[in-house]
Subunit: 243 residues, 2 copies
């Protein structure tokens, strides 16, 4: 199966000023990995039209799909819809189905600010599932999700089916050697297995190991051969555990 690539754009001054710690990007990162999607980029941008539009245009042109998080509520700083619209040179329009849902949900509490949430870029479609109160707005290959984690997470999970592709296979080697001591073995292994995704992650202060090596591939047999090869290259005494 072909590779599916994705980017995540987190929108909000509250993240860049440290007032709120984003958790959506990490949640999405793990979910996308499970689905076999290759996440190529995460960007956190402020509540500024040009910054949003530029980043959305950049990612939408390069990756198969894009998830945005945040900036879709009723307040003055919620300008993601306008930013996405600008990225695709569309105007904002009221979506009749969203307007109906907002009236249905908020009843007589609807005001101008609430109806702002019915505005979408012209041409946007709605992705509805029975377990979501509000559908997820999609324009071209961009899915526009809210920043509140309790809403972002179920909305992403509801979309997961359409993103799924073939998964990565993975092996892990824990070693007591430092990175410098094993770097040449890793390079040798990569010469034989250039398509292997090989990660090397030093850990400080762990009595059990110093470096965690991750080997990944979408080709199961290729991974197994590369894993065996690297285990032969590494001195036996430095390997404490494999997974």
């Amino acid at each position: 199966m072909r590779e599916r690539t994705c980017a995540i754009i987190v929108i909000g001054n509250e993240i860049l000023s440290g007032k709120v710690q984003d958790t959506n990007a990490y949640f999405a990162t793990r979910e996308l990995r499970k689905l076999g999607v290759t996440l190529k980029r995460i960007a956190v941008v402020p509540d500024e039209l040009d910054a949003i539009a530029e980043e959305v245009a950049y990612c939408a042109a390069r990756f198969e799909f894009v998830l945005t998080s945040g900036g879709v509520g009723p307040t003055h700083d919620d300008i993601t819809m306008e930013g996405v619209a600008r990225a695709f040179k569309r105007k904002l329009v009221i979506h009749p189905e969203l307007e109906r849902l907002i009236h249905q949900h908020f009843a007589d509490r609807v005001n101008a600010a609430g109806l702002k949430m019915a505005e979408v870029p012209d041409g946007a479609v709605l992705n509805a599932t029975h377990d979501l109160r509000f559908p997820t707005v999609q324009l071209e290959n961009v899915y526009i999700l809210p920043g509140i984690p309790q809403i972002f997470e179920p909305k992403l999970l509801a979309l997961a089916g359409r993103f799924a592709t073939d998964p990565y296979y993975i092996h892990v080697i824990y070693t007591t050697a430092g990175e410098g001591a094993i770097a040449e073995h890793l390079n040798t292994c990569l010469k034989s297995y250039p398509d292997l995704m090989l990660g090397s992650y030093p850990r400080v202060g762990d009595p059990e190991y110093r470096v965690k090596l991750t080997l990944e591939s979408k080709d199961h047999d290729y991974l197994e051969r590369a894993f065996s090869h690297l285990l032969e290259l590494l001195p036996k005494e430095v390997v404490v555990k494999t997974e």
Copy 2:
């Protein structure tokens, strides 16, 4: 005092694949805020030369300074130095002082992989302080920090003095009203105080409040006037606490 702007670039496939959760960006975000620096962008990019070079060039041209995190160890996927060099159209050179420090620290354990850590973009300078084992490499307005949090954090703190500028003043209002109910009051307040940085953060499932409003400015008196004005606009019964 003038505004100082900054971007953070996190480099590493391990972050984008969810194998490691980045903590450096959030740590830096809070430290920069304390220093009065305006963080305008966070980007997480893969261990790919073009992706690193393109993001570094983008940020270095737009913001006063840039911090990078990750990709500076001895292994095959540590290509941040090369990426930064490419962004500024420089070549990589061995820095004699770094080479000396590596020989001093690793003694007879130095190999080719270890010496790779002495390579820097041509023209880079070293920022040394007495409490750091290795100085922080800087090229133009880009500071190149390692990804391991136990090294990233002290290196950033050692640089803090040169980044500091005038701090933000802040007030917080906690309200039991929903965003939709107060959005128009926020807009009214912003008409009178257009330079106010006004944030509105809904919280789900907290019995104490539904929306946290943050008011910020580098001008203390301006902030006080805007804070009083917004408190007059909001219905008294929805304000549960102010800070």
